[in-house]
C-alpha cells in the first residue's frame, strides 16, 4: 500500500487506493490500514474536498538523500537469512540475465 502511495504523483483517497490495489481488500480495511500507517508516521493526510487524501511521507527526494548506517557495511554474507530481492548469482547467470535484459529493453 505504501508502494501505491509512493508511486502516485498526488495524494490518493482511500477509494483510489482500494481501486489501485486491485485486490479483494475491502474499503474499510484499506482505511484501517491507512489510519495505522498514519499513526506510525509513514503517511500523512490532507483534506481535499470532502474526503481525506493520503500520501507517503517519504518522497522520492527523501529517498535520493542517503543516510549513513553501519548495518549493511559488513560483507555480503551479512543478513543472508533474510529475503533479499536477488540472491547469489553465478557469472554465467549474470551473462544470461544481461542477455535477457537486452532483449527486454525497449
Amino acid at each position: 500500500m505504501l508502494g501505491i502511495l509512493w508511486r502516485a504523483d498526488r495524494p490518493l483517497s482511500p477509494a483510489q487506493v482500494t481501486e489501485r490495489l486491485g485486490s479483494d481488500l475491502a474499503y474499510t480495511t484499506v482505511t484501517t490500514i491507512l489510519t495505522r500507517l498514519r499513526r506510525k508516521g509513514l503517511v500523512t493526510r490532507d483534506r481535499i474536498g470532502r474526503a481525506f487524501h493520503y500520501r507517503a511521507t517519504m518522497s522520492e527526494a527523501d529517498l535520493a538523500a542517503t543516510r549513513m548506517h553501519t548495518v549493511l557495511e559488513a560483507s555480503s554474507d551479512r543478513v543472508a537469512t533474510m529475503n533479499r530481492f536477488v540472491g547469489e548469482l553465478s557469472p554465467r547467470e549474470v551473462r544470461a540475465l544481461r542477455a535477457i535484459l537486452d532483449g527486454l529493453d525497449p
Binding site: 500500500m1 505504501l2 508502494g3 501505491i4 509512493w6 508511486r7 490495489l21 486491485g22 485486490s23 506510525k40 509513514l42 517519504m58 522520492e60 529517498l63 535520493a64 538523500a65 542517503t66 543516510r67 549513513m68 548506517h69 548495518v71 549493511l72 557495511e73 560483507s75 555480503s76 551479512r78 543478513v79 543472508a80 537469512t81 533474510m82 529475503n83 533479499r84 530481492f85 536477488v86 540472491g87 547469489e88 548469482l89 553465478s90 557469472p91 547467470e93 549474470v94 544470461a96 540475465l97 544481461r98 535477457i100 535484459l101 527486454l104 529493453d105
Partner: protein, 295 residues
C-alpha cells in the same frame, strides 16, 4: 537394519524427492507451504530415527543403562541396533543440533542488527541491496545506489516484492525449512526451493500490483546485473542454483494456470508420504520409550 526404521524413512525419502518438483506444477503460494511442510516433516522424521537408533544402541552399553534406573527393560540391548550404530547416530545427532544452533544464532544476529528498521529505509551503500526485514510491522531496506539506478516503476516493483514478503510473513517458511536443512544437510535442496518459492510468490504479487509481469522480470534482471557489477569480490559470485533466471523466465512465460490435476496429485502424494514417514517414526520412538521405560 530393521523394517520398522527403514519403511518410514523410505516414505520420507519419497516425500523429499517429490517435493523437489512440486514448485514446477503448483503455484508458488501453495508450493511454499507444501515444501516447507515437507521439509519440516522430513527433518522431524530423520531426527526421530536418529534418536531411536541412538537409544537402541545405548541400551547395549551397561554404563548408560545403569544411569536410567526407571527404564528396567532398557538394559541389555536387543532393541534392534548395535552399539556402533548407536554411537554413529549419536554423533550425527549432536552435529545436527549444533548446526541448528549455529543457524538460529545467525537468524538472531541478523534480526537484531536490523531490529530498528520499520517502514522503508534507504541505506547508504553501493551494494545492490534490497531486503525485507521481518517483524511487526517489519521494514524494507534499500541500498541508495540501487534506488538511484532504478526508474520509479522499477522501484515500485522492488517495494511491492518486499512488501509481499512482509505481508505474507514469508520468513516463517524460510526459517523453518532452513533450520531443519541446517541440521540435516540432505534437506538443503528442499530448503533452497522453499526460498525460491517465496521469491516467486512475491514476484507474482508484485506483478499483480504493478500490472506488468514484464516489468517485474526486467527489474529482477536489472537488479541482478547491477548487483554483479557492484560486487567487490568475485568470491561472492559463488554458489547459485540459477534461481534468479528461473524467476525471470517464469514471469516472461505467458501466464497460464498450471496442470491442476498433476499438481494436486503430486501434493497429495508427497504430503501423505511426508506425514506417514514422520508420524510412523515419532510413533516408533514413543512406543520404544513406553515399552522400555514403562512410561
Amino acid at each position: 537394519m530393521n523394517t520398522t526404521l527403514v519403511t518410514p524413512l523410505a516414505a520420507t525419502v519419497i516425500a523429499a524427492v517429490g517435493g523437489l518438483v512440486v514448485h514446477r506444477v503448483v503455484p508458488p503460494r501453495h508450493a511454499t507451504r507444501v515444501l516447507a511442510g515437507i521439509t519440516v516433516l522430513a527433518g522431524t522424521a530423520v531426527l526421530a530415527a536418529l534418536v531411536l537408533v541412538t537409544l537402541a544402541g545405548a541400551s547395549q552399553v551397561a554404563v548408560v543403562a545403569d544411569l536410567l534406573p526407571w527404564c528396567p527393560s532398557f538394559a541389555g540391548g536387543g532393541h534392534g541396533s548395535s552399539a556402533m550404530a548407536g554411537v554413529a547416530a549419536a554423533l550425527v545427532l549432536v552435529l545436527a543440533v549444533a548446526r541448528a544452533v549455529v543457524y538460529g544464532a545467525r537468524v538472531y544476529r541478523d534480526r537484531r542488527a536490523l531490529r530498528h528498521v520499520t517502514g522503508l529505509r534507504v541505506e547508504a551503500t553501493s551494494e545492490a541491496v534490497a531486503l525485507a526485514v521481518p517483524g511487526r510491522p517489519g521494514g524494507i531496506v534499500l541500498g541508495s545506489a540501487l534506488v538511484a539506478a532504478l526508474r520509479p516503476g522499477e522501484r515500485a516493483v522492488v517495494i511491492a516484492h518486499e512488501q509481499a514478503h512482509l505481508v505474507h510473513r514469508h520468513h516463517r517458511y524460510v526459517y523453518a525449512a532452513e533450520l531443519l536443512a541446517a541440521s540435516i544437510p540432505a534437506l538443503r535442496p528442499l530448503a533452497r526451493r522453499v526460498r525460491l518459492c517465496t521469491e516467486r510468490w512475491a514476484d507474482e504479487l508484485a506483478a499483480h500490483q504493478v500490472g506488468s509481469r514484464r516489468l517485474v522480470a526486467r527489474t529482477i534482471a536489472k537488479v541482478a546485473v547491477i548487483g554483479a557489477e557492484r560486487r567487490v569480490t568475485a568470491a561472492a559470485l559463488a554458489a547459485s542454483g540459477g534461481e534468479t533466471i528461473t524467476r525471470v523466465e517464469a514471469l516472461l512465460r505467458p501466464h497460464r494456470s498450471r496442470a491442476g490435476a498433476t499438481g494436486s496429485g503430486l501434493v497429495a502424494l508427497t504430503g501423505t508420504a511426508a506425514i506417514c514417514g514422520a508420524v510412523a517414526q515419532a510413533h516408533h520412538l514413543a512406543v520404544f520409550l513406553r515399552h522400555a521405560c514403562h512410561l
